[in-house]
Amino acid sequence: MAEKIFSTRHTIIVTLVITITCAILVVATSGLLKPRQLAWLAIEMNRSIVTAMAPSLVAGEILTPAEVVEQFSQLDVLLIELETGERSTAEDPLVYNIFTVGDNPDLQYKIPTSMDIAGLVNRPIFAPVYQLYDGAILQRVGFPVYGPGMWSTITGYIVLERDYNTISNIYFYQHGETPGIGDQIESQEWRQQWVGKKIRNEAGEFKLHQRKSTQDKDMDEYQIDAISGATVTSVSVISMAQYWLGDDGYGLYLVRQREESRQ
């Protein structure tokens, strides 16, 4: 018996048997558990939109998976084509992931350089919009946004009031900015100053911008302050908001919905 563990034939057979058994075990487990793992990922992603849409949450409060599923089911999710601002049925909005769709060139649109203020290069053709109704009355609308920060792609949501022009909340899903510096964009203090800011003026001109001087106080309702010490990250977020809420982003849809909401 001691002899055979030195023989080449035995070595090859045992190695093959063990390798194949191990491979089958790993593939089977991973295949069986994949749906469950993906379900968790979906809940993680839905958690951020649900949290963004419900600003009544106490800061730092974390929803349980059951609450996420329940509150997400109350949202109306539609898909719009950004170029026309029209609703589209080309993709299932519940499955469509705007943050990972960049991997598919067929669903991308090349942004003209002059319009590309946030440095995105490409953006998806379609985007999901999340609506929260209370009975028949629209409460808030959430829009996913993303863009390059200092080190990483920052992803998040901008939530507007039912007038499609007043910012209700900004909330970040994922980012890899410097801990303690760039990640101040997630702080309650900085996010708070976005609340109530207007995107366009009464005449429909795009006005949202970064505050450069403390002098022009009369423009206050359109201005966002950068974070000193975290300028690159916070200015990126402001450019991101300007791009996505502007004419090349959700602009057409926003303008149209704003007109409708006034009637």
């Binding site: 563990i5 045992v14 190695t15 390798t19 191990c22 790993v26 487990t29 991973s30």
Partner: protein, 218 residues
């Protein structure tokens, strides 16, 4: 004491894998900031130790001499990957806290060390007991270090507030260093120091005897 009960009890204190054999220190430093991930890590490692010891022991007459280490690693890696998939599917929060450290169990010296030093020379049952004992020894250290770090770093234990924080009109202000990886070095070093008097070198020599000689002695 019977041979089997010694297989389990010895590694817990006298032959502790972390403080005496100085194995698996990396994860003992890395996942001990709070108690819950440390407990999950301990349970996972113990299960994998038992599993790898049992399988290696069952195959010990079959494993080809020339590449046995690679095959042992393959068996361990399979067990770890499966455990990692289960954690990701059923405890995603904890899986993300433990991040790469579950995968790194593959390279945890305790697992390969016990497979090679014990399971390759001993029958299945004692190997399982050995895996359990070593796993418990590792768990004891992890739980101790994590309890100290969570209690003094945040005033909490298992997430429950034990010490009233000064921020909430209590008396305790958290020791920031306890939340930093460096504190684990000091605590593990302290535990190693504490466990020295119980471990004359002769004991380590005694443990090297294999199953058959050992059984003859008891």
């Amino acid at each position: 004491m019977t041979y089997t009960s010694r297989l389990i009890s010895d590694p817990v204190i006298r032959q502790n894998p972390v403080t005496v054999q100085i194995l698996g220190v990396c994860s003992a430093l890395a996942v001990t900031r709070t108690l819950i991930p440390a407990i999950i890590m301990s349970v996972t490692l113990t299960l994998i130790l038992v599993m790898s010891n049992v399988i290696v022991s069952a195959l010990r007459h079959q494993l080809p001499q020339s590449i046995r280490l690679i095959l042992e690693m393959l068996i361990i890696a399979t067990g770890v990957t499966i455990a990692d998939e289960f954690l990701k599917a059923y405890m995603p929060d904890i899986a993300s806290t433990l991040s790469v450290f579950v995968g790194l169990i593959i390279t945890n010296c305790i697992v390969l060390g016990r497979a090679e030093a014990f399971a390759m020379h001993n029958p299945v049952l004692p190997s399982a007991m050995d895996g359990l004992g070593q796993g418990l020894g590792y768990s004891l250290i992890l739980v101790l270090v994590a309890s100290i770090r969570e209690l003094f770093g945040t005033g909490r234990l298992l997430g429950y507030q034990v010490f009233q924080l000064s921020a909430d009109n209590g008396w305790f202000s958290p020791l920031l260093i306890m939340s930093l990886p460096a504190s684990a070095f000091f605590i593990v070093a302290g535990l190693i120091w504490l466990s020295q008097p119980n471990n004359p070198r002769s004991l380590q020599a005694e443990w090297k005897l294999d199953y058959h000689t050992f059984r003859g002695k008891l």
